[in-house]
Amino acid sequence: MNVPDPQSRPALAPRVRLRADPVTGEPVLLYPEGILILNPTAHEIVTRCDGEITVDGLIRLLYDEYEESEETLRHDVLETLADLKQRNLIVLAP
C-alpha cells in the first residue's frame, strides 16, 4: 500500500458522495455500484477531506481535538487514506 504524501491534499473523488444511511444512521460513501460503511475514525477523517487541508494538517487538527497520541493518529490517518485511495474513493491533490 502506498503511503500518502504528507503535503498532499485529500478530497473525495468527484463521483463519491458521503451521506448518512437513513435506515441505520451510519455514515456511508456511495459510488458507482458500491456502498462503503465508514467506521467512526474513517468518518472523522473523511469529513475533513476538503481538498484544502494537507494530510499533515489533518493529523494536527485531529491531534488538537482528540486525546490520542500523535503516533496513533498519524497511523490511523495514513492507513485510512491509503485504503480509500486504493479504492479510488479519494484523490490526493499536490
Binding site: 468527484p14 451521506r19 437513513p22
Partner: protein, 361 residues
C-alpha cells in the same frame, strides 16, 4: 420483515438508437405506455423511503427521455445516488450541463470496441464518433467518466486496445463485462460466446491492467459465468438487495426476470413499491432458501451463491427453481458444457440486431 433494498434500476424507456446484439432488454417488450415524470417521481421517493441508496438510470437509452434532468433532480431530492447508464448518444454539452446541475453523481458510457469500424458494426449504427463527442461534453460539464464495454467473441481479443482507449479518454472507472446470456444475448449466443482461450487470455490482460492502473483507474472485470465452476451470487439473492422497474412500470426482482415463465409482475401504477417489495408473489418466490431443491438445499454454499441465477436455470433447464446449471454440482451442467463444445462453429457477427419497440412510444 424482509431486508431492505439497496439499489433500484430504473429502465426509463426501451427506445434506443443502438442495436447491440447482446442487449439486456427483453426480446419481446411488455405492452403499455411508458411511466410519466410524475410516476417516476413517486417511485423514487418510495424507493428512498424503503432504504434504497442507489439509483441506476438506464433503458434503452435514458437520454431518449426529454424529462431526464427533471428525473435526476427528483432522485437527488429524494437523497438517491444517481448513476446514468447511457450509450452517450444524445449527450450534448447543454444536456450534460443540465444533468450536472440537476445533481447527477456519475455517468457510465458504453463503448462497443476501440476500433470505430468494429464498434459501429456491433452497435448496428454509426455511434462511435458520437460517443467520443459525448465524452467531451461530459468533461466540459465536469462530470466524471466511467466506461462500460461488453465483451464477446467479436471484441474480446482487442481488450488491450479497449483498456488503452479508456486511459486515453481519462476514464476513472472501466467496467469490462462479458455478455450475459439472457434475452438478446441468448438469442445471439452462438455468435457471441467466446472461446476458452479468448476468455483466459482476456482475464490475464484484465488482471495485469488492474494492477498497473490501481489508484488511477478502477477496473472491474466480470467473468463469463459459463466458464466458471460455481454460479454467480445472482442479484446477491432474489428479492434481497435489488429492484428493477421497467419502462411500463412493472417491478422485477432482476432485470431479466421477465424471461421466467409464469412469473407475474406487479406494477407501480397499481401498488406501492413497499407493498410489492414485501408482499408480491414474484419477489417472495425465490427469497431465502426454502424454495431450493437438491443439491442446493444441502449445500454449504447456499447462503453465499443463493443457488445462482433463477433466469439462467429457467432458460436452460426449464425449471426456475433448479440449481443454476453453471454449478459443477448441478445435474444439468452438461447443458453448459455442450454449449461450450459448440463455440466457434458459428461465424461471428451474423447475429440478429436488437430492434426497437415501435408500439411503446
Amino acid at each position: 420483515m424482509n431486508e431492505r433494498p439497496y439499489a433500484l434500476l430504473a429502465e426509463l424507456t426501451y427506445r434506443c438508437p443502438l442495436h447491440c446484439p447482446y442487449c439486456s432488454n427483453p426480446v419481446r417488450y411488455p405492452e403499455g405506455r411508458e411511466l410519466s415524470t410524475e410516476d417516476w417521481r413517486r417511485v423514487f421517493s418510495e424507493a428512498a423511503a424503503l432504504g434504497v441508496l442507489h439509483l441506476g438510470l438506464s433503458g434503452g437509452e435514458p437520454l431518449a427521455r426529454q424529462d431526464l434532468a427533471e428525473l435526476v433532480g427528483a432522485a437527488r431530492r429524494a437523497g438517491l445516488y444517481t448513476n446514468l447508464i447511457t450509450s452517450g448518444l444524445g449527450l450534448t454539452a447543454p444536456r450534460a450541463r443540465d444533468l450536472r446541475q440537476a445533481g447527477l453523481d456519475s455517468v457510465q458510457i458504453s463503448f462497443q470496441a476501440d476500433d470505430p469500424a468494429l464498434a459501429n458494426a456491433i452497435a448496428g449504427t454509426k455511434a462511435h464518433d458520437l460517443k467520443l463527442e459525448a465524452v467531451r461534453a461530459l468533461r466540459e460539464a465536469g462530470l466524471p467518466l466511467s466506461l462500460n464495454v461488453v465483451l464477446h467473441r467479436a471484441n474480446i481479443e482487442r481488450l488491450e486496445q479497449i483498456i488503452a482507449l479508456a486511459e486515453k479518454l481519462g476514464a476513472d472507472r472501466l467496467e469490462l463485462a462479458n455478455v450475459q446470456y439472457y434475452g438478446w444475448g441468448k438469442l445471439n449466443q452462438a455468435q457471441l460466446l467466446p472461446t476458452r482461450h479468448q476468455v483466459e487470455t482476456a482475464l490475464a490482460t484484465a488482471l495485469a491492467a488492474k494492477e498497473r492502473l490501481a489508484g488511477r483507474m478502477e477496473l472491474i472485470y466480470v467473468l463469463p459465468d459459463y466458464y466458471e465452476e460455481r454460479p454467480k451470487p445472482c442479484m446477491q439473492g432474489w428479492g434481497r438487495r435489488y429492484l428493477t422497474v421497467n419502462p411500463v412500470g412493472q417491478v422485477l426482482p432482476c432485470p431479466n426476470a421477465a424471461g421466467i415463465p409464469g412469473l407475474v409482475f406487479d406494477s407501480v401504477r397499481e401498488r406501492s413499491l413497499a407493498a410489492i417489495w414485501q408482499e408480491s408473489e414474484s419477489f417472495n418466490r425465490f427469497r431465502g432458501t426454502e424454495w431450493m431443491s437438491l443439491p442446493c438445499r444441502e449445500c454449504p454454499q447456499k447462503e453465499i451463491d443463493f443457488g445462482g441465477c433463477r433466469c439462467q436455470a429457467a432458460l436452460l433447464t426449464g425449471n426456475p427453481g433448479a440449481t443454476d446449471p453453471v454449478c459443477m454440482l448441478s445435474p444439468d451442467r452438461k447443458i453448459i458444457d455442450q454449449l461450450l463444445d459448440q463455440v466457434g462453429n458459428e461465424s461471428a457477427m451474423t447475429w440478429k440486431p436488437r430492434n426497437n419497440p415501435l408500439d411503446t412510444f
